[in-house]
C-alpha cells in the first residue's frame, strides 16, 4: 500500500563506532509516510545507537541519511526535530509539574511574546496538537497538570509535542513498556490516527504481539547489520523474526507442565486471601502462579504486601503452615522469600556501586553479620555471575555498564544464592530481549522445579503467563476474581476475564 510513495526517511550503510567498539557496521532503514515500521533487534544489536542517530543525538561515522529525497545531517536532536524527525524515549522528557499546554508548546517560538509567555497561543497550539491524536486524546485538558495524568496520556502529550512541531516521522522507543493492556490500546488508537495523517511511525519494541498487531513492515538489526529491510509483516512469521534477530533458531522449550493433581498433593507453601474475597488462594511447592489484570487492579500490591514492601491490612496469609504477618522486607527475606520488583532501576539496582553490591545485599542481610567477609562474598559473586551467564566489563563496574537484560539477570542472581522458598516476581521480563526472556523463563522454572519453590508472578505479557503458570489469578479492584488453571490458561481466556473484570 505504501510502496507507491517515495520513502520519507532513508538511512543507508550506517557505520558507527565508539572508540574501538563498533556498534553499527552496515545498518539502514527505509521508512515511508503513513506506515508503522517496526525496528527490532536483540540487546546489543545496535538498536539504541540507531535510535540515537535517527534522533540526531549521535552522528554516524559513515553512511547517509536521506530525508524526503535529500541527503541531510542532523547536528543535534533539536535540528532533527526541526527537519521533522521526533523521538519519544522510554523515559519521557515531560515536566511533570507543568500543564499539558506548557509541555506541548513550551519550545514553540510563537508563545514567546518578547519574554512574556502567551498562554492563549500556548493553549491554542496544545489543543490543536491534541485534536490530531483523535478520540484517545479527548480526555486530556490543556490545563491539566501532566504529573496527574495516566501513563498512556503522558505518552500522548509527548507525541502531541512532536506533531505540534510538525514532525512527520515519530520514533517510539518501547512506548508500551510501562503501559497496561487498555492504555496500550489507547496509544495504538493514537498511532493509527497519526498514520492516517501520513505521519510515519518507527516502532521499537520487544513485544512480538504488539508488533504483530500494529506494524505494517519490519526491519531487524543483528550485530550492527540490517538483516531484514522493511519486509511486510504478512511475509514474516514470529519464528522468522526471532531467528533473524538471533542469527539462529531459538530453542524455545515448550516444557510440559506438571499435572495439577500432582501439584495439589504437594505441601501448601503460602495461602493468601482478601477481606471479603471469594476464596483463599494456595501456592504449593514448585507451583507457578500468575497474577493477571489491569494495571491498578492490585497485582503488584499483592506481591509487595507479601514482601512487606507496603502493607495491606485487608489481606491474610498463612506461610509454611503458620499464620504469617508481613511487616517489613527483612522479615520476609528471613522467611526464605525473594522479590524482584517491577522497575529494576528503582526497586533493585545499586547504581554507582560495584555490581557485587546489587547481587550480594540480600545474602548479606540474611547473614546478620556485622563484618563483611570479602573473600566469601567474592566467591559467591563469581559463582552467581557464572550461573546467570553474564559478561561484565570489570568486577567493580556499576550495573549501569550492563544492558537491560543483564541488569534484570543480576536481580535474579541475587536470589539464587540462598534457596528461596517463595519467589515474588513483578514483571520479570520487562524490557529484555527474546533470548534473555527465554533464559529468565528457564531460571523461573528451575527455581520452581529444583528448589521446590513456589512462584507468584505478575505479568502484563499474557503469553508469558500461559507459558509458565500452573494457575493464573485474574485480579480486579485489589482482589482475586477468577482462577484459571491448566488448559484454561490461554491468552484469549485471560484477556476475556481481564476485560470482564474491567467491565464494571
Amino acid at each position: 500500500m505504501t510502496e507507491t510513495k517515495a520513502p520519507i526517511l532513508e538511512l543507508k550503510h550506517i557505520m558507527k563506532a565508539y572508540d574501538a567498539n563498533v556498534a553499527l557496521k552496515d545498518a539502514g532503514l527505509t521508512v515511508y509516510p503513513g506506515e508503522i515500521h517496526a525496528l527490532m533487534g536483540a540487546n546489543g544489536a545496535g538498536k539504541s545507537t540507531m535510535i540515537k542517530i535517527i534522533a540526531g543525538a549521535h552522528k554516524p561515522n559513515e553512511g547517509e541519511i536521506i530525508l524526503n529525497g535529500e541527503a541531510v545531517t542532523f547536528n543535534n536532536p533539536k535540528d532533527a526535530l526541526r527537519k521533522g524527525v521526533a523521538v519519544v524515549y522510554q523515559e519521557l522528557s515531560l515536566v511533570p509539574h507543568l500543564t499539558v499546554s506548557e509541555n506541548i508548546a513550551l519550545s514553540a517560538d510563537s508563545v514567546n511574546k518578547k519574554g512574556r509567555y502567551d498562554w492563549a497561543e500556548s493553549d491554542r497550539l496544545a489543543s490543536a496538537a491534541l485534536k490530531r491524536l483523535g478520540r484517545a486524546g479527548e480526555g486530556i485538558g490543556v490545563r491539566d497538570i501532566v504529573g496527574n495524568l495516566r501513563a498512556d496520556q503522558m505518552q500522548m502529550i509527548e507525541i502531541a509535542r512532536a506533531i505540534g512541531q510538525d514532525a512527520s516521522i515519530i520514533l517510539l522507543d518501547e512506548p508500551t513498556s510501562s503501559l497496561n493492556f487498555e492504555e496500550t490500546e489507547n496509544l495504538f488508537a493514537v498511532i493509527r490516527e497519526l498514520v492516517k495523517q501520513d505521519i510515519a511511525i518507527i516502532f521499537v519494541s520487544h513485544r512480538m504481539n504488539e508488533i504483530r498487531e500494529i506494524c505494517d513492515r519490519i526491519s531487524i538489526l543483528r550485530d550492527g547489520i540490517l538483516v531484514v529491510d522493511g519486509r511486510p509483516m504478512s511475509q514474516i512469521s514470529d519464528d522468522d523474526i526471532v531467528t533473524e534477530m538471533l542469527g539462529e533458531k531459538l530453542e524455545s522449550e515448550k516444557v510440559e507442565k506438571t499435572p495439577l493433581e500432582e501439584i495439589d498433593k504437594r505441601q501448601p507453601l503460602l495461602t493468601f486471601g482478601f477481606e471479603g474475597g471469594i476464596q483463599d488462594y494456595v501456592i504449593h511447592e514448585g507451583e507457578i502462579i500468575g497474577l493477571a489484570g489491569l494495571a491498578g487492579s492490585g497485582r503488584s500490591s499483592v506481591l509487595r504486601a507479601i514482601w512487606g514492601g507496603s502493607l495491606r491490612d485487608d489481606m491474610h496469609f498463612e506461610y509454611m503452615g503458620e499464620e504469617f504477618k508481613p511487616t517489613k522486607p527483612s522479615k520476609s527475606l528471613g522467611s526464605k522469600m525473594a522479590y524482584v520488583g517491577e522497575d529494576r532501576a528503582i526497586s533493585g539496582l545499586f547504581f554507582g556501586q560495584p555490581i557485587l553490591e546489587t547481587i550480594i545485599m540480600g545474602h548479606r542481610n540474611l547473614g546478620r553479620k556485622m563484618i563483611v567477609n570479602n573473600r566469601h562474598e567474592q566467591d559467591v559473586f563469581r559463582d552467581v555471575i557464572r550461573k546467570i551467564q553474564i559478561k561484565i566489563p570489570a568486577e567493580d563496574c556499576s550495573p549501569s555498564a550492563l544492558s537491560g537484560g543483564n541488569q534484570q539477570k543480576l536481580l535474579f542472581g541475587r536470589w539464587i544464592i540462598d534457596d528461596a522458598k517463595l519467589i515474588l516476581l513483578d514483571e520479570p521480563t520487562r524490557g529484555v530481549d527474546v533470548r534473555t526472556k527465554e533464559e529468565i523463563y528457564q531460571r523461573i522454572r528451575t527455581m520452581a522445579a529444583e528448589n521446590n519453590a513456589g512462584v507468584l508472578m505478575v505479568s502484563s505479557e499474557l503469553n508469558e503467563l500461559e507459558l509458565l503458570c500452573d494457575r493464573v489469578i485474574v485480579m480486579r479492584d485489589g482482589k482475586g476474581e477468577n482462577v484459571l488453571s491448566g488448559d484454561e490458561i490461554t491468552e484469549e481466556n485471560m484477556m476475556r476475564y481481564i476485560a470482564h473484570a474491567e467491565g464494571t
Binding site: 540487546n43 522486607p329 563483611v372
Partner: protein
C-alpha cells in the same frame, strides 16, 4: 556483542583495583604533596616540623566533623547543622565544666548535646521524611541561637588547666593526642565504611533508597544513626577545639559546616549520595587547611582564602565528575 559470549570476569590485581577505586583521592593527595613542596621551595618553612604540627592541630576538629558529614552525605543527605552544633555542644560542655569543676561532666554533657541534636535531625529526616536540607538548616539556626542564649552572648575561658591535655597531652609518649584522634577517626571510619555491613548499608541507602528498603536494609535506622554520628562527632570536634584554645566563642563553629561539606566533596563524596571515602575526607580536610596555611606563609591577605578554596572545590568536583565517567562510577 551477542549475549552468548562465554562468561568472563576480568580479575585485575589487587593493587590495580585499589588505585582505580581511589583514583580521585590519590590525585588529590598528589596535589596536596606537590602544593607543599612548592610552598616549601618558596617559603622555606612549609615542610618544617613546627608548621606541619600546626596545620595538623588546626585540622583535627574539622577532620572529625567532616567524617560525620561524610556518612550523612553518603546516604544522600546533608547536615548543615554541624557548625552550630559545634558551638552549642562546646559551649554547653564548657559551661558545665566551669560550673561543676568536673571535666568528665563537661565532656559528657557536650557529647550528649551533640547526640541529642543528631537524633532529632535523623528522626525528622528518616521518620518524618522531611528534606535533610530543611531539617538541618532549622537545627543550624536553633542551635546557634541557643548557644548565645545559654552563654549570654559571652565567650567563656576554660580555667581548668587539666583540660588542655585533651588536645595536647600525650597518651602515647611523643605523640600529641590530636594526632592520635586523627589516626583513630580515619581508621575507624575506613573500617566502618569498607568492612562492616552497616557501612555497606550507608552506601546502598545513598545509591538507591527504595532498592535498599526492598532488600531488607533498615534505611530509617541507617539514616538516624548517620545523623547521630554527625552530631556526636561535631561535639567531639568542639571539645578538641575548646581544649586547643582553652576558650569557646558563641560563634566558634560558624561556617564550619560548609568547610566540612567542602572537605567531603573535595575528597570525592557526592551530594547525590552513594560516593565518598574516609581517605578522601582526610585529604579534603588537609587540602583546605593546607590552603589556609599556604596563604598565611606566603603573606597573602587572608581574604583570598575563600577564593582559592572555592576554585579548588570546583576543580576537584569537576575532575571527579570526569573521572567518574570513565570509571563507570556514575549513575
Amino acid at each position: 556483542m551477542g549475549e552468548n559470549t562465554p562468561v568472563t570476569i576480568q580479575s585485575d590485581s589487587k593493587m590495580k583495583k585499589l588505585i582505580r577505586a581511589y583514583k580521585l583521592e590519590l590525585g588529590m593527595a598528589v596535589i596536596l604533596v606537590v602544593m607543599y613542596i612548592i610552598l616549601h621551595f618558596v617559603t622555606g618553612t612549609a615542610l618544617k616540623g613546627s608548621n606541619i604540627r600546626n596545620v595538623l592541630q588546626a585540622s583535627a576538629p574539622l577532620l572529625i566533623m567532616t567524617m560525620g558529614q561524610l556518612v550523612v552525605v553518603i546516604t544522600g543527605g546533608i547536615d548543615l547543622s554541624v557548625g552550630s552544633l559545634y558551638s552549642l555542644s562546646g559551649m554547653c560542655g564548657v559551661l558545665v565544666m566551669l560550673r561543676t569543676q568536673s571535666i568528665t561532666a563537661g565532656v559528657l554533657v557536650a557529647l550528649g548535646v551533640g547526640i541529642l541534636c543528631g537524633v532529632i535531625n535523623g528522626v525528622l529526616v528518616a521518620k518524618v521524611k522531611m528534606a535533610p536540607f530543611i531539617v538541618t538548616l532549622a537545627m543550624q539556626g536553633a542551635a546557634a541561637s541557643l548557644t548565645k542564649i545559654i552563654a549570654g552572648g559571652n565567650s567563656q575561658t576554660v580555667t581548668l588547666q587539666a583540660f588542655k591535655a585533651f588536645n595536647r597531652g600525650e597518651m602515647i609518649p611523643g605523640v600529641r593526642n590530636y594526632m592520635v584522634y586523627m589516626v583513630i577517626i580515619v581508621v575507624v571510619m575506613y573500617l566502618l565504611l569498607r568492612k562492616t555491613v552497616f557501612g555497606r548499608w550507608i552506601y546502598a541507602t545513598g545509591s538507591n533508597e527504595e532498592a535498599s528498603r526492598l532488600v531488607g536494609i533498615p534505611v530509617d535506622r541507617v539514616k538516624i544513626i548517620c545523623y547521630t554520628m554527625s552530631g556526636f562527632l561535631s561535639a567531639v570536634a568542639a571539645l578538641l577545639g575548646a581544649s586547643r584554645l582553652m576558650n569557646v566563642e558563641v560563634t566558634s563553629g560558624v561556617g564550619m559546616e560548609l568547610d566540612a561539606i567542602a572537605a567531603a566533596c573535595i575528597g570525592g563524596a557526592s551530594l547525590s549520595g552513594g560516593l565518598g571515602t574516609a581517605f578522601g575526607a582526610l585529604i579534603g580536610t588537609l587540602l583546605q587547611k593546607g590552603i589556609n596555611n599556604g596563604i598565611n606563609l606566603l603573606g597573602i591577605n587572608s581574604f583570598w582564602t575563600g577564593t582559592v578554596t572555592g576554585i579548588v572545590i570546583i576543580v576537584s568536583v569537576y575532575v571527579g565528575m570526569v573521572a567518574g565517567k570513565n570509571s563507570k562510577k556514575r549513575k
